[in-house]
């Protein structure tokens, strides 16, 4: 693994999180474009991040909680049912 590969791997997750500067993005992108092994690691880790998001976004708030929050915006805030 060359210096470029190591540098890219070190910045990979920050790159995936879109937190690198424009100049760093360009250099990581350029390396990924001509280094298939690094590009595969990138694909895998980016997919991993998407998977975590997808798998953890399946729980919606229960309807009664949603209604409770909606009511909060009305004149009289409802009592918290759990304190009853």
């Amino acid at each position: 693994m060359g210096d470029h590969c190591e540098q890219t791997m070190r910045k990979l997750s920050v790159y995936i999180d879109r937190e690198l500067s424009d100049a760093e993005v360009r250099s990581v992108k350029a390396h990924l474009d001509d280094c298939p092994p690094c590009e595969k690691v990138f694909d895998f880790q980016a997919e991993m991040k998407r998977l975590v998001r997808k798998e953890c976004c399946t729980d919606d708030a229960p309807a009664r909680l949603r209604d409770w929050v909606r009511q909060l915006a009305t004149e009289k805030p409802p009592a918290r049912d759990r304190e009853a």
Partner: protein, 188 residues
């Protein structure tokens, strides 16, 4: 109707699913979200219009959560462990698996019960779990997470790094270590 507050209503799903990852119990999550909205309502005049209302709500929620934890610590919270370098990708490669033909989804989800990612996340020590949830699930920037949790950006990054490695390690364990099932090259 107070139209201002409706701006906050739309984040109820995001708050609830994150509350669920933090508390690990639906009743506690619901309670945490209620408390969060009660405070948001009470202090709604402190919110600066034009700033990120989702980040504001998450700041309230993590504060409420940490206060509660201080009052009655959960006995089953996993302890922080020293970090170990781990990635599923490296592990697969080390075992000579055809990693270029495998997606994380195939390895983790399709071989399991479907809830592994949530469970693995819930088993992370809280400081790491919070950062992974905020960055990877809720899509906050490092800077926003630093502000929500009142920590430095460098701390966000190191917790994220360790959290993701720990998460992958758990997922790897759950997957029963992917069998060295031969994958036919070129098969669809």
């Amino acid at each position: 109707m107070n139209s201002d507050f409706s701006l906050f209503e739309r984040h109820v799903d995001a708050l609830y699913r994150s509350a669920l990852r933090l508390t690990r119990k639906p009743e506690d999550a619901e309670d945490l979200v209620q408390e969060t909205y009660l405070r948001a309502y009470r202090y709604r005049n402190r919110f600066k219009p034009g700033t990120n209302e989702k980040a504001w709500l998450f700041t309230i929620m993590t504060n409420v959560f940490r206060n509660r934890l201080r009052q009655r610590p959960a006995p089953t919270e996993p302890l922080d462990q020293p970090g170990t370098d781990f990635s599923i990708y490296d592990q697969l490669r080390r075992e000579g698996m055809p990693v270029h033909l495998m997606s994380p989804e195939e390895i983790i989800v399709e071989r399991g019960f479907g809830d592994e990612v949530k469970h693995a996340l819930e088993e992370l020590p809280l400081p790491m779990r919070m950062v992974v949830v905020l960055v990877d699930v809720e899509d906050f920037s490092y800077k926003e997470v630093a502000s929500i949790l009142g920590i430095k950006i460098g701390t966000v990054m190191s917790r994220l790094h360790r959290g993701r490695q720990a998460l992958q390690k758990k997922l790897w364990e759950y997957s029963g270590r992917p069998r060295a099932r031969p994958v036919a090259v070129g098969a669809h």
